[in-house]
């Protein structure tokens, strides 16, 4: 009797949240799905659109139009055309090996995981410098939307790596150098994240613009004779600003990983004759790895769909996948509902696959963050 009452009130308490998410989150996603697999509607007028919206038959033509058949892989000057399916399977396989490699193979699994991770990120890594980013490998596609997606992944992955590389020493300082006041410093680091994202991004427009402080400093030093063209309205600007905007946030999971580390392990390593570098490489780094990976994903996942930063500092060069979605629905008067649905769902699918595959790291870090 008591048990029954409890479970009744449980669902009564859950009802508002569940209803909200069903009607304002799951059902809308289902509507997008329906549109993405409906027959292509050429008429964009509301009357015809609502007609087709109700009575379309299932087709994957929108999806195959978006995905295409082949993908071009460029490695060190050579260019290869590969079937999309093969590339997709390879990327998923590498992702799984990265996450579960150390579990699947007892000895040497760690190395396997690291190699897979490197292979996975190489096609999406670029040196964020200059007009076009120098890169080792590159994935490209005939389809403009998919090509834009690869470009966005590259930009957001590069930004995530930069953010982690900056946040790690900061978190390290907080965990090992700062003494009693470490939580105050942590607060000082994180607080900017809670102020307006829009304005923090815009501030960089002022800094990087052709008559901004960076260019005027370089000009007055005589290092350049005219403003650097790729400082603003470029991929460079978007990557720098994305990294900047997310660094404060990810200092937290890295700090927590380092803070929760058992310090006696370091002493033990030193007692056993390990140098500081050795102890760092063999003890600190492996123990901090889940925190670092979580931090990477905490930047990567929200930035692939980024709209504001490319909009404010990206110009036409820094255009990203999220901006494309927004363009389908907002910029022009005629909405391309179906195209927009397909690319939104694709973005969602990628984010969900990444989150699911890496939830191990996210749970480790996220559980402690909260």
């Amino acid at each position: 009797m008591q048990r029954l009452r409890t479970s009744g009130s449980t669902w009564l308490l859950l009802a508002p949240g569940v209803l909200l998410l069903v009607f304002a989150f799951l059902a809308p996603l289902y509507v997008i799905y329906q549109f993405s697999v409906g027959e292509r509607m050429f008429a964009q007028t509301p009357a015809l659109a609502s007609l087709t919206g109700e009575a379309t038959s299932f087709t994957t033509q929108m999806w195959s139009g978006f995905l295409g058949h082949d993908v071009q892989l460029k490695v060190l000057g050579g260019s290869f055309t590969l079937p999309l399916v093969a590339v997709g399977i390879a990327l998923l396989g590498l992702l799984l090996l990265t996450v579960y490699g150390s579990k699947l193979v007892p000895r040497g699994g760690g190395v396997l995981a690291i190699v897979s991770a490197l292979l996975l990120i190489t096609p999406f890594l670029a040196l964020p410098w200059g007009d076009s980013f120098p890169r080792l490998a590159e994935l490209s596609s005939e389809g403009t939307d998919l090509r834009l997606f690869f470009k966005s992944v590259t930009m957001s992955m590069t930004a995530s790596l930069i953010a982690v590389l900056i946040a790690f020493p900061v978190a390290y300082w907080l965990a090992f150098v700062a003494k009693r006041s470490k939580y105050v410093w942590l607060l000082i680091v994180i607080t900017p994240f809670l102020t307006s994202y829009l304005l923090r991004v815009y501030a960089w427009r002022l800094i990087l613009s052709s008559d901004g402080p960076v260019n005027s400093l370089l000009l007055s030093l005589g290092l350049i004779s005219e403003p650097v063209p790729w400082l603003i309205d470029s991929q460079f600007a978007v990557v720098v600003v994305l990294a900047y905007a997310w660094v404060p946030f990810i200092c937290l999971p890295i700090f927590i990983a380092l803070e929760n580390m058992d310090r006696r392990l370091l002493e033990a390593a030193t007692d056993l004759g390990a140098s500081r570098l050795m102890a760092f490489r063999r003890v600190t780094l492996p123990l901090a790895a889940p925190g670092l990976i979580a931090a990477f994903l905490f930047v990567f996942i929200p930035t692939i769909g980024e709209v504001i930063t490319p909009g404010l500092v990206g110009g036409t060069n820094g255009y990203m996948f999220g901006s494309r979605i927004q363009g389908d629905f907002i910029s022009s008067g005629s909405f391309d509902w179906q195209q927009g649905s397909v690319i939104s769902l694709f973005l969602l699918a990628v984010v969900l696959v990444l989150t699911a595959a890496t939830s191990r790291f996210l749970r480790n870090a996220g559980g402690e963050v909260s």
């Binding site: 508002p16 809308p28 997008i32 900061v170 003494k179 410093w185 102020t195 501030a203």
Partner: protein, 285 residues
């Protein structure tokens, strides 16, 4: 303590890390400071260095009716979202933290899932639900679903976005409270609601405040979902985003930026202080 940290960092390493941290802090705060300086720049364009000191952009901003309307809209949305996300978050967090029930982990995954969904997808989804989905509003209000577009739809979207954050603040706080306190109240004859009001609520008040503030801050800063689902209405971040993209319009916007930065800093600090004090209170009890 100091012995431990010497093991981790050498004297030189410590010095260079501290230098790095110092430079990082400067780089972190400099852009925002620059933005605040430019709010007083006596020029319509923002080129370096600033040319003179003026406060007339502030009075210009105060007289811009479009801007003021967007501020009012944002405040309306922000307050509704903060109340809704906090109340719903509280309702959901209690069973998630305290009770075992069928479908517990799928429900909790569903509640937190908006965290990973790109706002641009959520915006598209809500827009399409209203414009192309089944007409569910008709039996409720006698009007068309499309009437929901505008501030109502923004409120709904922002509540979805803010809900995971309020849950992440409230759930651990509820879970950390000693069950014996509730059982004692129950044994002394208090009903469920009375126990909640007299025992639980006082202990989680700080968490409720910070959940409210976080939800408000999220809503007041959100532009992507809002720009999909408002028809003619504008929220403050939408107004900012639209103006910031045109160099000749930014001068009027910078005073707002100045105030927004100051206010959001104050709110962020307030939220943290309340939460930290709440932590102490719970650990003390």
């Amino acid at each position: 303590m100091s012995a431990n940290s010497t093991v981790a960092v050498s004297r030189n390493g410590r010095r260079s890390l501290t230098t790095f941290f110092g430079l990082f802090l400067v780089a972190l705060y400099l852009p925002t400071m620059l933005l605040m300086v430019f709010a007083f720049n006596d020029s319509t364009t923002q080129s370096w260095p600033p040319v003179g000191f003026t406060t007339h952009w502030f009075s210009d901003a105060a007289n811009d009716s479009e801007l003021l309307k967007s501020v009012v809209n944002s405040l309306k949305v922000g307050v509704v979202v903060a109340v809704a996300a906090t109340v719903i978050g509280l309702c959901v967090s209690y069973p998630l933290a305290r009770r075992k029930f069928w479908l517990r982990s799928p429900v909790s995954a569903l509640m937190l899932s908006p965290l990973v969904v790109p706002p641009v997808v959520l915006g598209v989804a809500i827009l399409m639900m209203i414009r192309k989905g089944p007409n569910i509003a008709i039996p409720l209000t006698g009007s068309n679903t499309e009437d929901l577009l505008g501030l109502t739809a923004v409120m709904v979207g922002h509540t979805v976005l803010a809900l995971p954050f309020t849950i992440l603040l409230l759930m651990p706080r509820i879970a950390s409270i000693d069950r014996n306190l509730e059982e004692a109240a129950h044994d002394l004859g208090a009903s469920g609601p009375v126990t909640f009001r007299r025992v639980m609520l006082p202990l989680i008040t700080p968490a409720i405040f910070s959940a409210f503030l976080i939800a408000f801050v999220i809503s007041i800063d959100e532009v992507v979902v809002a720009s999909f689902v408002t028809e003619d209405e504008q929220t403050l971040p939408m107004f900012l985003y639209a103006s910031l993209r045109f160099p000749d319009k930014t001068a009027v916007v910078l005073p707002v930026a100045f105030l927004l930065i100051v206010v959001s800093f104050a709110l962020a600090i307030l939220a943290t202080v309340i939460r930290v004090r709440g932590d102490r209170r719970v650990t003390a009890s």
